[in-house]
């Protein structure tokens, strides 16, 4: 059990926890967080794979940087939609 494999497994676990959350949770905010967790899990798998070689694989690091940006932009969009839906509902109620 090397450090790399433990982190690989942790990444997988986070991915699954996120997926489970996305599918079972009711609250939209939590589901958005869940998708973020899935992303972190995948990035952890990628980075753990990068750590297998002595000087860490720069290609994988670049891929994760790219992925991080995707995830924040999508999160911002999702949260905006969520907020808009909430306010819309409030307006309808009144």
């Amino acid at each position: 059990m090397t450090a790399v494999s433990t982190y690989l497994l942790t990444g997988m676990a986070l991915f699954l926890v996120g997926l489970h959350g996305l599918l079972t949770l009711q609250s939209m905010l939590r589901r958005i967080i869940a998708v973020n967790l899935m992303g972190s899990g995948v990035f952890l798998v990628l980075t753990a794979l990068a750590a297998r070689v002595p000087d860490a694989d720069p290609v994988l690091h670049a891929l994760v940087v790219t992925g991080l940006v995707v995830s924040i932009s999508a999160t911002a969009l999702a949260l905006r939609l969520h907020g808009a839906i909430q306010r819309h509902r409030e307006d309808d109620d009144s």
Partner: protein
């Protein structure tokens, strides 16, 4: 020594899992979001532990910083809600997750030994001298796989476009009427913090060609400075309807596309920088990309509402 490393790994992984589970399943929204912010910090430590400085920087700025700011802003307009999950079928779904995990784990564990044959890290190291920069991650991002980065900038741009379209007619959650005026202390603090952020952003950009750092990290830090100043009410609302603002958001992808097109027309091919020009071109593109990323992230995080009169 080895034992100490195991303790460190175990602590980090334990924290990661506890916070990951907690952020999804704790009852209060506030706790959930605070846990998520902490999760980002731990993740930055994990990247450091795995020898990925670029990721640690990006995570510290984006994951721990901007994403939690986003979530908190969202929570501030959401009613505090307590979630209660029906406990009946809960264990069944977790059992299913556990089974899938074991199945995945059996395959994934085999990947922990490196591949021997054509290994990209060696290729990167071999061509680093020709790439125009000294830092391998920057070389991959802006030279070897520049096409990914170009499309990435478009992703960011499209997120912003989608973001702007939602709730255009509604009022923005953060407007001066519903929030109390910022405390003077906050104002003073942000006035002294913002220049430091700007300097750090510039520093990260400048260091990017030789060491960890680069456009994404620098852009995120600059965006944080902007958000802070906006929140403490020291910057006016930025309007998308001004063409300068649009230009700032577009300059990164536009310049990148221009370089790509020009190199296809006049040079060797799409995104093939001419000899000797790689370093200045990469620096130029990075600087432009930083501006675009900073502006876009600032819009996304501070959630500016704009031209309603349009």
């Amino acid at each position: 020594m080895a034992i100490a490393e195991i303790i460190l790994d175990a602590t980090l992984i334990g924290l990661l899992l506890v916070m990951g589970l907690g952020t999804l399943h704790t009852r209060r929204t506030g706790a959930s979001i605070a846990l998520f912010a902490g999760f980002g910090m731990i993740l930055a430590l994990v990247w450091a532990r795995l020898g990925a400085p670029d990721l640690a920087l990006a995570e510290a700025a984006i994951g721990a910083g901007l994403t939690s700011a986003l979530l908190l802003r969202a929570a501030s307009i959401t009613e505090e809600e307590e979630i209660s999950i029906p406990a009946r079928r809960q264990w069944l779904s977790w059992l299913f997750v556990a089974v899938v995990f074991v199945w995945l784990a059996l395959h994934v564990i085999r990947l922990s030994t490196p591949v021997d044959s054509p290994s990209l890290p060696n290729l990167v190291a071999g061509h680093l001298a020709d790439s125009g920069v000294d830092h391998p991650v920057t070389a991959v991002l802006l030279n070897f796989r520049a096409w990914d980065t170009l499309l990435e900038l478009l992703v960011l741009l499209l997120a912003l476009l989608g973001f702007r379209q939602v709730a255009r007619r509604n009022q923005h959650p953060y407007d001066a009427d519903s929030h109390p005026a910022p405390w003077p202390l906050l104002k003073a603090w942000s006035r002294s913090l913002a220049p430091l952020l700007v300097v750090t952003g510039m520093y990260l950009l400048w260091r990017g060609s030789e060491s960890a750092g680069g456009a994404f990290q620098a852009g995120a830090v600059l965006a944080a400075a902007f958000v802070l100043l906006r929140l403490s009410g020291q910057l006016p609302v930025v309007h998308w309807s001004r063409w300068t603002v649009r230009l700032a958001a577009l300059v990164g992808p536009a310049l990148f596309l221009t370089v790509a097109g020009a190199s296809a027309l006049a040079g060797e091919g799409w995104l093939d920088y001419p000899d000797g020009m790689s370093t200045p071109l990469i620096l130029l593109i990075e600087a432009a990309a930083t501006v675009s990323i900073a502006v876009t992230l600032a819009f996304l995080v501070s959630g500016e509402e704009e031209d309603i009169a349009e």
